[in-house]
Symmetry: C2
Subunit: 243 residues, 2 copies
DNA sequence: GCTTCCTGTATTGTCAACATAATCACGGCA
DNA sequence: TGCCGTGATTATGTTGACAATACAGGAAGC
């Protein structure tokens, strides 16, 4: 017998609340950030989200708390949650962290990657390339990010994979916050070169390539640019006034 | 004027609830795990904790959720939270992750550590050594852990520091879960040697030493031992029955 | 004697209302 | 005209009660 204990209002086919729903909301917000439909500073009101996803505010709060822990959203006391705006400093640190982690991963993969591992990586890059070729930047970017996560997964270290995933998830925000254009091809060639090094079991070269690749990403995101002015005092500071 | 808006029952000198209290509970549980007063598998009942800390269940839930995110506690659906018991596999992955991160940190420090940085590290090891010398293993272990966190802090990368902190926090659980005795001197000599390498700006040697040091930790924790049997089926499996 | 089912209890998950704090709009004032 | 104080509104933080689920003990059946 199906459990129809819920009064009558809304039959719960898909669970309208609970940990499952929390996961659903979390994933939805994360995807929205990925797809640039939510930019840095966007306000995430509990009530609005609760109504939108047909869940209680408590569920939304739990999801926002988790997103806050991964630093994808900033939780301000008594002032709600907004999509995070990583500072330039923080962004550099994120790339530095990625470099450390991903270099270790490729070193491990260079030593232990199986034939099927390499094939999986090549497939990943292939569909990535195809997406860019047909102008679908959104999917391309997604697959490009997937490539990095795949590296972690294939390296057989779930702990590092999880950490890397959280770091990688913050990259789109860095791009948006600092005005860098999302690169049009996002390093497909870098990815291919890296795979070749892995195939040759050339750990040293693979590490170099990864370092360079992340360096490219960092440059493309224009981190060397000054941080966008956020306050009026900055925007109309001495320099602007003097002119 | 002091805000005495609370009715009358209990004047809130220390905040009895809210984000501050959440932090307090989180820290308390984390310390209890550090000090081995809470071992793997220990049940963390919401109501008990709420009464113990004079907060509402909601606050406890929030704290547990955060601890769950850092994997210090395991959250089981409808079955509450227990202190985590990292598997042998997971433990190895944690050490691998620490190795990757800490090697990157010492490489950076070897290049950029200032005189005061080195002094801070030496001071840290000195008090660590002193603690062990007077038989205070608890404080010694704490300071030993602090040393690793200090490395991250001095390296000037808050992102990596945070990640490392979470990884390091799980080490005591690994020791308890897999029955390894907590080492009596926990690598004070390793720490000193590492500092010397940093002082000589010898990045290569510092990396080697760090790798070795973490290797020592891993060995001391007896990860090569089989995992303790948890299920009856395992405990009384074919081998035991045959005898 | 052992297993199986059942019932009572304890614990967690969920929700809706209340209290508190911040934001916004309006009107007075220099 | 621009600024500041004030009040209304909105949003968040918190609490307590309710519902659903899992656990434990005991009774009945094999």
């Amino acid at each position: 017998m199906a459990k129809q204990s819920t009064p009558a209002g809304r039959a719960r086919r898909a669970p309208d609340s609970g940990p499952a729903a929390e996961q659903r909301i979390l994933a939805a917000i994360q995807e929205a950030i990925f797809d640039h439909r939510l930019g840095p500073g966007a306000k995430l009101k509990e009530l609005a989200l609760a109504e939108l996803f047909h869940v209680s505010r408590g569920t939304v709060r739990a999801a926002l708390a988790r997103l806050g822990h991964t630093k994808l959203v900033e939780l301000r006391l008594n002032r709600g949650a907004v999509v995070a705006s990583p500072s330039a400093d923080e962004s550099r640190q994120i790339f530095e962290a990625r470099c450390a982690i991903e270099c270790a991963l490729v070193a491990k993969l260079a030593a232990a990657a199986s034939r099927s591992d390499l094939k999986a990586l090549r497939d990943c890059v292939a569909s990535e390339k195809a997406s860019y070729a047909r102008g679908d930047e959104r999917t391309g970017l997604r697959l490009s990010i997937d490539f990095h996560c795949k590296l972690a997964e294939l390296a057989g270290n779930a702990v590092l994979a999880r950490i890397l995933e959280e770091l990688v998830a913050r990259t789109p925000l860095i791009a948006l916050t600092h005005g860098g254009r999302v690169p049009s091809t996002c390093g497909v060639d870098d990815h291919l070169a890296l795979i070749e090094a892995l195939a040759r079991r050339d750990a040293r070269r693979a590490g170099e390539l990864m370092r360079e690749h992340i360096g490219h990403l960092e440059l493309q995101l224009n981190l060397q640019w000054p941080e966008p002015t956020r306050t009026l005092a900055e925007a109309f500071g001495p320099r602007a006034v003097a002119a």
